[in-house]
């Protein structure tokens, strides 16, 4: 082994990583810059948006309620329990709504996209699309990506409202807030940018979720094991991607 072997190994790794990033970027660009098939787009909007509503809503409800309990008991240590409704509203809109909503969608949607497309790959359905003069990227990837980019911010918006409602239930039922005081407390400190930034995060998270599901599905290995691996990687990469993107976006929006 020569002294340069570790360096050349690192170089090979870096080149492989750059090639991978380039391939994913091209894949994303080909998926994004095409007109989605309207039927498939609507079907995906229902799959990704409407059918994720229960899980995102329940997550937001319990998160808002728990956050209210935490913020009230923490705030009481320095006589600031009254700001709890504002903290819940800002926390849900800026951070917890988009991140937890995105994660729940990643768990539900990235896995389902990867499994569906991966199964299509191993059962030759994607080859069949090509023989039927349909571009698999335009037919499978574009509608999913655009549906997710549109649906996840909507889910985040609904999740924000439900999360604040969760806080309101706890605040009014067990922490002694009146309904009017809680609502006033929530709205008085909430700024439009708090909400808009969360929705923008949701759009980026939607892109990450759909892209991850489509990429791993389209590149699934053979057989059930290949589809299983694709599904697992799709969820893991989407979840890590959401956390990383959240950090970058929070820095961009609020630093």
């Amino acid at each position: 082994m020569t002294l340069t072997a570790p360096v050349s190994g690192l170089g090979r790794l870096a080149l492989a990583a750059l090639r991978g990033i380039g391939r994913i970027a091209l894949f994303a660009a080909r998926g994004l810059f095409a007109v989605p098939d309207p039927r498939e787009f609507l079907r995906q909007l229902v799959q990704i948006g409407w059918l994720s509503l229960p899980v995102v809503g329940l997550t937001a409800l319990f998160t808002g309620a728990a956050l209210a309990l935490q913020m009230y008991s923490g705030g009481e240590r320095f006589a600031a329990g009254d700001v709890m409704p504002a903290v819940v509203a800002i926390g849900m809109a800026r951070e917890l709504g988009p991140v937890l909503g995105g994660l729940m969608v990643a768990a539900r949607v990235a896995s389902s996209i990867a499994a569906e497309i991966g199964t299509m790959r191993v059962t030759e359905q994607i080859d069949a699309l090509v023989t039927l003069s349909a571009n698999p990227i335009h037919h499978l990837v574009t509608p999913r990506i655009w549906a997710a980019i549109l649906a996840v911010p909507m889910l985040v918006g609904v999740g924000d409202v439900i999360g604040i409602m969760g806080g309101w239930i706890v605040g009014t039922q067990s922490l002694g807030f009146t309904s009017a005081a809680y609502i006033n407390g929530s709205w008085s400190f909430l700024e439009s940018w708090d909400v808009i930034s969360g929705l923008l995060k949701g759009a980026v998270f939607g892109l990450i979720v759909a892209l991850s599901g489509c990429w791993f599905g389209m590149n699934a290995g053979r057989g059930a094991a290949g589809v299983g691996r694709a599904t697992k990687y799709a969820v893991v990469v989407a979840a890590v991607g959401i956390f990383a993107a959240n950090f970058v976006l929070t820095g961009l929006f609020f630093a």
């Binding site: 569906e116 059962t123 030759e124 359905q125 069949a128 090509v130 023989t131 039927l132 003069s133 349909a134």
Partner: protein, 242 residues
């Protein structure tokens, strides 16, 4: 006569494994060519190279005498149909939507559905099947629905990839008869990939023996049994040689 499809010295490797090693084949207009060979000899890779699903390392695919490149492929595919080994019906669509997949873009749903039901009838499936999803079909029904999809747009070239795999002898015979009738009726050129000798004799005009990545023998199906080429001789008779 210019062949409809031709491969010249087609070569394809996966890593160190050379799957195709200079494959020369030609299909004349209206001819039914059957490519036979053991499992793993590159038959499906050959089809994928012709379709552009795999890029050959060397060699050429010609369509109507001209290279079948990316620019000409859409026109080729417009007149092409394929029956896949596992039928490859789209799970999310009903049977008629599968059959009419290409037609829905050009004919609208109502007319496309009518044509789909006609094509389903042609392969022996009734209209009651039209609204089922592929998961509700048996293997034989799925193959027939796949065949209906392959012929839905009246293609000039049809590929059949292992059309009888997984079917019992009676259903296999029905599929073979359907393929033969359809190829004769439509005048389409056909390439069938199989290792089923009954299929070879039922659907083929000509046969090509693929082994070790190249064609060792090709000729009329009627001349096949008298051939002495060792790969073909052993294959027909099921003689194993290490």
């Amino acid at each position: 006569m210019t062949p409809v499809l031709e491969t010249r010295a087609l070569t394809k490797s996966f890593g160190a494994q050379k799957v195709l090693n200079g494959v020369d084949l030609a299909v004349a207009p209206g001819e039914s060519l059957v490519v036979i060979g053991q499992s793993g000899t590159g038959k499906s890779v050959l089809l994928k190279c012709i379709l552009g699903l795999e890029s050959p390392d060397a060699g050429q695919v010609l369509w109507q005498g001209q290279p079948l490149n990316a620019a000409r492929r859409p026109a080729f595919l417009d007149g092409f149909g394929m029956l896949f080994q596992g039928a490859a019906l789209f799970d999310s669509l009903t049977v008629w939507q599968n059959v009419a997949f290409r037609l829905r873009r050009s004919h609208g749903d109502r007319r496309a559905r009518e044509i789909a039901i006609e094509k389903l009838a042609r392969v022996g499936l009734g209209p009651e099947v039209a609204d089922l999803h592929p998961a509700a079909l048996s293997g034989g029904m799925a193959k027939r629905a796949g065949l209906a999809r392959a012929i839905a747009a009246d293609p000039k070239v049809i590929f059949f990839d292992e059309p009888t795999t997984g079917l019992d002898p009676i259903r296999a015979a029905r599929i073979n008869a359907l393929i033969r009738d359809i190829v004769t009726e439509t005048g389409a050129s056909a390439i069938t990939i199989t290792h089923d000798m009954t299929t070879v004799r039922s659907v083929g005009d000509r046969v090509a023996m693929l082994a070790e990545g190249r064609v060792w023998w090709q000729g009329d199906v009627s001349a096949m049994d008298a051939a002495t080429e060792p790969h073909l001789y052993n294959f027909i008779r099921g003689i194993w040689q290490a």
